[in-house]
């Protein structure tokens, strides 16, 4: 950046030769994976709750401090099946934050229910207990709360509200893995609260299992149902005793997850180091800052950069510039779900937060020098804000 090259958006060479990803993409011990895969071939056991899925479930239930862990082909199936099992009979709506993963309303509908969007807390971006209290009524089938990378749920408040109303609380804890809730109760490990929690083993998440997911719970009956329903509702002798599907995790994916699970603390430490590096190199830029991570699980799986309202570039302009440079950043949960679905819900905090954040490059492939170069790019944009801004906006017309 020393000679102020032309931005890639204006026809220059992209700053990064290889794309910078926004996911973890850890693969810490390929030889361990090959050894586990070879053992599965020798057993001729590649699926149907093989020994590696069993081992993974045992280790994850220990990690989360729960009686049960049930593995699935991916987290979506865990959410569909858990919602369908937990939903209050006769009720149709599932309350969830609007500022979250775009797949969730689809999963709610696969479970035969309808989404209802709730506003979020301005600091953690998790379900706002005061807004939730106003939405809960006789037609509420379940609450689907979400733990975020920068902040965990107000679990005590959410449990109190849902328990009082007799409503199940399912937690999408994908980004809460490894964290501890700020709670007045003794048990604070993420995964151990609410009716059940769901996690992901997708390659972009902390523990890479190619694809995969799991549910943790202390509820024996729910765990038994989940185990049956992921395998066609089979009871004894492979005869269905209830509706199910194929949501099984295969042994090769379990092998990959196991090979990375051994290195979870190292992955987290590396993420923390990269996050510190971001903070250090972006320190002098007054018009961008990072989300408040004070109530986060401490995994730093995502780096959320906040663009100030009076910044020389809008959030979406920065995303266009960065993507052209091969930094594959994304808008963070934007547009929010209630806007995507043209819902008439009024969610002022969600509307505001959804316009502010960029999901920056992270993960095992990101070097400290990449972070330095990103910071230099931002400084270049700052120094040449008027000229670049004019060219950017004239290009739009």
């Amino acid at each position: 950046m020393s000679t102020a090259p032309t931005l890639a958006l204006f026809g220059g060479q992209p700053l990064f030769e290889h794309p910078l990803a926004t996911g973890q993409l850890a693969n810490r011990d390929p030889e361990r994976f090959f050894a586990l895969a070879t053992a599965s071939f020798e057993r001729r056991r590649l699926t149907n709750q093989g020994p590696m899925v069993e081992e993974l479930e045992q280790r994850l239930s220990t990690l989360h401090g729960t009686r049960h862990c049930v593995a699935f082909a991916n987290a979506c199936f865990a959410i569909i099946l858990a919602l369908r099992s937990l939903a209050r009979p006769g009720a149709t709506r599932v309350i969830l934050p609007s500022l979250t993963f775009r797949g969730l309303p689809h999963l709610i509908r696969w479970a035969g229910l309808e989404p209802q969007y709730c506003d979020v807390d301005p600091l953690t971006h998790t379900l706002s207990p005061s807004c939730l209290a106003q939405l809960i009524d006789a037609d509420t089938a379940a609450v689907l709360a979400v733990d975020n990378v920068n902040g965990l749920c107000d679990i005590d408040a959410l449990e109190r509200l849902t328990l009082d109303a007799g409503i199940p609380l399912l937690i999408d804890a994908v980004y809460g893995i490894g964290g501890h809730y700020s709670s007045n109760k003794g048990k604070d490990i993420v995964g151990s609260r609410g009716s059940a929690s769901v996690f992901s083993l997708h390659a972009t998440k902390l523990i890479n299992g190619f694809e995969g997911g799991y549910l943790t719970t202390d509820n024996d009956e729910l765990a038994a149902k989940m185990r049956r329903q992921r395998t066609f509702g089979f009871g004894e002798g492979a005869v269905p005793v209830e509706l199910g599907m194929n949501a099984k995790l295969n042994e090769l994916h379990a092998a990959m997850a196991l090979s990375n699970l051994d290195h979870m603390q190292a992955i987290i430490a590396d993420n923390k180091r990269r996050f510190d590096c971001y903070q250090q190199h972006f320190e002098d830029l007054s018009w961008v800052s990072f989300a408040d991570y004070s109530l986060s699980p401490g995994t730093f799986s995502l780096v959320l950069l906040k663009v100030a309202a009076d910044a020389p570039f809008s959030r979406d302009e920065l995303i266009r510039i960065l993507r052209a440079e091969n930094a594959l950043v994304r808008p963070y949960y934007s547009p929010p779900l209630h806007q995507q679905e043209s819902s008439d819900a009024t969610l002022p905090v969600t509307d505001s937060v959804s316009r502010q954040f960029i999901q920056m490059p992270v993960g095992d492939l990101l070097e400290e020098t990449d972070i330095q170069r990103l910071a230099q790019l931002f400084k270049h944009l700052e120094q040449n804000a008027t000229a670049i801004g004019e060219r950017l906006r004239s290009n739009l017309q």
Binding site: L46, T47, F210, G244, N246, E251, L365
Partner: protein, 382 residues
């Protein structure tokens, strides 16, 4: 071969074809070098192309497993109301209909083919029927021509569960291109394995585009408003396994054919036990060895023979049993009189097949069946 063969390790039903270790390592080192593990990677693209070529169709859309393939297809076809389906099938065929918001209407099957045919289906059509879901049992075509004529005449959609039928033909035409779409399974017990896996095949461009949108939540040009999407992606690991399997599919089929022939010959003279020669006259993958028991003639019931074999490490299976109409939730919601299905569920038995089973194993299983103690030993011969 001893008079009373004893197996020291269990002999499973199911293909359980494992990859070549060197090829596996090379393929997975490629994935690791690319750091591309899922999310529509190059191997998903490659497997979609390879499967479309294999099945002789314009489009194959690979997904996480065969059940999800069917759930996604039923949603993508935007069907409503009732769908006619056999009860003599794997439970996932019928369960998928419920997940797609549809009502299964069970239809009995032809006793000779164990499948639906146009005449049986026609009698089950009501004003609420929107589609016919045929199942190619043992990889034999489920009256695809007759059902297509019926569907066209009555304005119905037609699709097939071809989970059994990879590399099989009907009247010389490869299964995969019948109906509006078909689904296949690449479960580890099938001839082509992705550990888990499945795909949808179709010649319908619009349907294929919609399915590619629906199989993930990724950004797409196709808006697909109102249709539910799902993470149904096949991972690069699963796609790699299917691609490795395709390299050796002809060999797997030939090995199956040899076992099939050994079974056919070894079981031909047992009074009251008929080897189902489903492959006659067509290309088949020969992945099943199925026998039909006539208890009165054999002198023992299917379940008695099953128990006796399982006690001797021959893990034969009742398949299918019971009929799906007799399982929850359908047994309590739908009354269906399916006499042929009920009978088939009492008399069919699957024997061990696949890579784990040697020629000697097959011969020994045949010997073992011949030596099974009949309670009512019959003396007359057919």
């Amino acid at each position: 071969m001893s008079e009373n063969p004893v197996f020291t390790t269990p002999l499973p039903v199911g293909q359980l074809n494992m990859p070549d270790p060197a090829e596996f390592r090379e393929m997975f080192e490629g994935i690791f070098a690319r750091r591309f593990y899922t999310n529509h990677g190059p191997l998903e693209h490659a497997v979609d192309e390879a499967l479309a070529a294999h099945f002789g169709v314009r489009h194959a859309i690979a997904v996480v497993n065969g059940t999800i393939a069917l759930m996604l297809l039923l949603r993508a076809m935007q069907l409503t109301g009732e769908v006619i389906v056999p009860s003599f099938t794997f439970p996932a065929t019928v369960q998928s209909l419920v997940w797609a918001g549809l009502k299964p209407v069970f239809c009995d099957v032809d006793p000779d083919t164990q499948m639906l045919n146009a005449a049986l289906v026609e009698a089950a059509i009501t004003p609420q029927t929107s589609a016919i879901l045929g199942v190619h049992i043992w990889g034999r075509g489920c009256d695809p021509v007759g059902l297509a004529k019926l569907a066209e005449a009555r304005g119905l959609q037609l699709l097939f569960d071809a989970a059994h039928a990879t590399s099989c033909t009907f009247e010389g035409k490869r299964i995969g291109g019948f109906g509006r779409a078909e689904i296949f399974s690449f479960h580890a017990t099938k001839i082509l394995s992705g550990a888990e896996g499945g795909c949808i095949t179709t010649n319908d461009d619009e349907l294929a585009t919609r399915l590619r949108t629906l199989r993930s939540f990724h950004a797409s040009d196709e808006h697909a408003a109102g249709v539910l999407r799902l993470n149904a992606k096949i991972s690069e690991a699963q796609a790699a396994m299917v691609l490795l399997g395709l390299r050796h599919l002809d060999r797997f089929i030939e090995e199956n054919r040899q076992r099939y022939e050994l079974y056919r010959q070894g079981l031909q003279d047992i009074y009251g036990l008929q080897f189902i020669d489903y492959a006659a006259g067509e290309q088949s993958n020969y992945q099943f060895a199925v026998v039909r028991i006539e208890p009165e003639k054999l002198g023992m019931s299917r379940d008695e023979l099953l128990d006796w074999l399982q006690d001797r490490h021959v893990l034969a299976r009742r398949y299918f049993h019971p009929g799906v109409h007799r399982t929850s939730p359908f047994s309590s919601e739908i009354r269906a009189e399916l006499t042929v299905t009920d009978e088939l569920c009492q008399v069919l038995l699957q024997l061990p097949t696949g890579q784990a089973i040697s020629h000697d194993d097959v011969r020994n299983i045949c010997t073992l069946i011949q030596s099974a103690p009949r309670k009512r030993q019959m003396t007359q011969r057919a």
